[in-house]
Subunit: 116 residues, 2 copies
């Protein structure tokens, strides 16, 4: 089945995981009634410059970020890196991450969370 | 852990699933030694205008395509649709799909396959 961008469920989370500002989340598919694999989230995240997602851990699952647009400074389980479009971050097995939008344009990332 | 775009494993598949031309696949993460969830592929697919992936089914797993750039004509398990950037296709449980790049620029899609 297909879904138009305009039909994806959008939510806004403020100070997500203790971060700054707002994270816009567009959910491509829902885990309850649409996805039947162990993928529990498949979404596009947008953060205005300066906004961030605070450090948090993923236990019993892993999250993949793929940078689509903008520039990110990430805390990759204690290691700081700057990521650009096409770069990717994988966090799971109890490791943690944080993400900050540091470019001049919004940071857009694809986020996929797969349960073990 | 993070990975630069340039470090992602790239492969080219000709006449993929009976389609036309070449599909460039850039694998963000490898299922054998990097991903530990039931995600067996997380990649960016690029198809030049006119190239395609032939119809095939996904049994015991589901595949998500998210259109990033270009224009796609898909066979969504027997239903034809044209998809644009931000649109998404979900195919699993024995259903099938085919994709053709029909725009003036290359079709870029994110592809995620999750096993049940």
């Amino acid at each position: 089945m297909f879904k138009r961008s305009s039909a994806c469920r959008a939510e806004e989370r403020r100070e997500m995981r203790g971060g700054r500002g707002v994270v816009k989340i567009e959910h491509f598919w829902e885990p309850e009634n649409e996805m039947h694999s162990r993928t529990r989230m498949c979404a596009r995240l947008t953060l205005a410059p300066g906004d961030s997602i605070g450090f948090h851990r993923h236990e019993g699952e892993e999250e993949i970020f793929v940078i689509l647009r903008g520039r990110a400074r990430v805390d990759d389980n204690g290691v700081t890196a700057e990521l650009l479009p096409g770069d990717t971050l994988l966090t799971g097995g109890g490791a943690g991450h944080a993400v900050e939008s540091i470019g001049d344009e919004p940071l857009e990332m694809l986020a996929v969370i797969g349960k073990y």
